[in-house]
């Protein structure tokens, strides 16, 4: 005659109870997913150079926009829509004005064309090269050294190609989330 001790059922019951707490479970999943994506954006911040030689602030902003959202029904990671544009690609069209302004110089980067003075010495003006090619330009220098500087190119639309490397690989995100859930289960059940 033998004695069988059921040590598994109480543990399984604890785990089942924890997994039924969907709100808490999804909270942990969302936070773990958000953490993975934030770290990825930090890598992009350091590896993507700004073409005007200034520190890249785009990925820092995107990292700041990442936030976990969860409910009883789901776990999600939300971020700025600019990430989706780079991930899936797309066409950006001028929405509120006739043209998009593409900065061509370090001075123009990060500024609206309206921030440049429009009249008087050094004021901006539109250059039309025909065939729909327009620039916002200004004179710099004086006398014999006077030159035209093109500050912005005006375009009606720009195209972004899709880039899957904008986010970490799906499998990696999943494995990190699973790891976090396992740790959470251990804490919840005391196992």
């Amino acid at each position: 005659m033998g004695l069988v001790v059921d040590a598994a059922t109480p543990k399984l019951l604890e785990i089942t109870k924890a997994l039924r707490d969907k709100a808490a479970l999804h909270n942990i999943m969302a936070r773990a997913g958000a953490a993975v994506i934030e770290k990825h954006f930090v890598k992009l911040a350091f590896s993507n150079k700004n073409r005007f030689g200034r520190p890249n602030t785009f990925w820092k902003r995107m990292r700041g926009s990442v936030r976990p959202e969860s409910s009883i029904a789901q776990a999600a990671v939300v971020m700025d829509r600019a990430v989706a544009l780079r991930l899936f690609g797309g066409i950006v069209k001028a929405k509120f004005k006739k043209f998009l302004t593409i900065p061509l110089t370090k001075d123009a980067y990060g500024k609206s064309a309206r921030q440049f003075k429009r009249t008087g010495t050094g004021g901006t003006f539109i250059r039309n090269f025909g065939d729909g090619e327009f620039y916002i330009s200004r004179f710099i220098g004086s006398g014999k050294n006077r030159q035209i500087e093109n500050l912005y190119k005006l375009v009606k639309r720009t195209k972004h190609n899709p880039n899957q490397h904008v986010l970490p690989p799906q499998l990696y995100i999943e494995s990190e989330v699973k790891q976090a859930v396992n740790k959470w289960l251990n804490r919840r059940t005391g196992l």
């Binding site: 909270n27 953490a35 890249n56 820092k60 700041g64 926009s65 936030r67 500024k111 309206r114």
Partner: protein
């Protein structure tokens, strides 16, 4: 004295309704006053116009809201602010400083206003959203990390030590409820600090925090195996408004004493009662 704590939104709304702070104060002076008040006025130094301050709030709210409206990008936000300041006659007093960061219409100043306000609002939101027991139990610590390159980085390790922090394998980690975070953002200790115990801790900072889980914190020796979970923190406007005026000069004291918005309680400056 403030008779009761106010929740964040209520406190901010209260601030919004009040008239502008004594705006003869410069940024340096305002920085000494305290976190929360400063958040809404520090970049408005020398802007003696309530409408200008309100416009800053409106622009930042649009940007943070992530709306699709024409003012929802930072670039457009700055342009809107510049136009508003121009229309309201908000400009630098010393013509020799046009275009510098002391010029409210300069790109440098507008950039600082809009970016920092946006970052603070997001930082506060993340801080409050993280104050639940499960999250604090799973990730009881923060690590101070660099999240974007800086042209001229501050010595954050030195700041960390000054704030009382310890290093673990060269990493700046502490429990989320540690006083280190409060001291790191203390403008009495660091002149460029913003006064909040969550990032951004200083102007134009490329630093932020990352969650560190319990296992990693234990393996590094930051916490012991059975260290209790940090308790959720509530942040009341009152905490962020309290400021020591012990280092203010007599002129500043005199200006503040004339403003009914504030009350000097010995050496501590507080909001007067409603």
């Amino acid at each position: 004295m403030i008779s009761k704590p106010v929740i964040w939104e209520a406190g901010l709304n209260t601030l919004r309704k009040r008239k502008a702070l004594p705006t003869s104060l410069g940024t340096e002076d305002l920085r000494r006053i305290g976190g929360e008040v400063k958040r809404w006025s520090v970049f408005s130094a020398k802007i003696e116009n309530a409408q200008g301050l309100q416009r800053i709030n409106d622009v930042v709210a649009d940007i943070i809201g992530g709306g699709e409206g024409p003012g929802a990008s930072i670039t457009e936000g700055k342009a809107r602010l510049k136009e508003a300041f121009k229309a309201l006659g908000i400009e630098v007093g010393d013509k020799g400083k046009v275009g510098t960061i002391e010029d409210p219409q300069s790109d440098a100043r507008l950039q600082l206003i809009v970016r920092t306000q946006e970052e603070i609002a997001r930082g506060y939101g993340k801080f409050i959203a993280g104050q639940d027991r499960d999250t604090l139990d799973m990730w009881p610590c923060w690590e101070l990390v660099r999240v974007s390159p800086a042209g001229v980085p501050r010595d954050w390790e030195a700041r960390w030590r000054t704030a009382g922090g310890s290093l673990y394998d060269g990493r700046m980690i502490a429990l989320k409820n540690s006083d280190v975070w409060e001291r790191l953002g203390d403008s009495m200790t660091f002149k460029d600090a913003l006064g909040n115990p969550y990032p951004p801790f200083a102007f134009n900072s490329g630093m932020d925090v990352e969650d560190i889980d319990r296992d990693e914190a234990e393996s590094l020796g930051v916490i012991e195996k059975f260290t209790p979970t940090p308790l959720p923190q509530e942040r009341f406007l009152a905490d962020d408004l309290k400021a020591s005026t012990s280092n203010l000069d007599n002129t500043l004291r005199a200006v503040l004493a004339q403003d009914p918005t504030f009350k000097l309680d010995g050496d501590v400056l507080r909001l007067a009662d409603e």
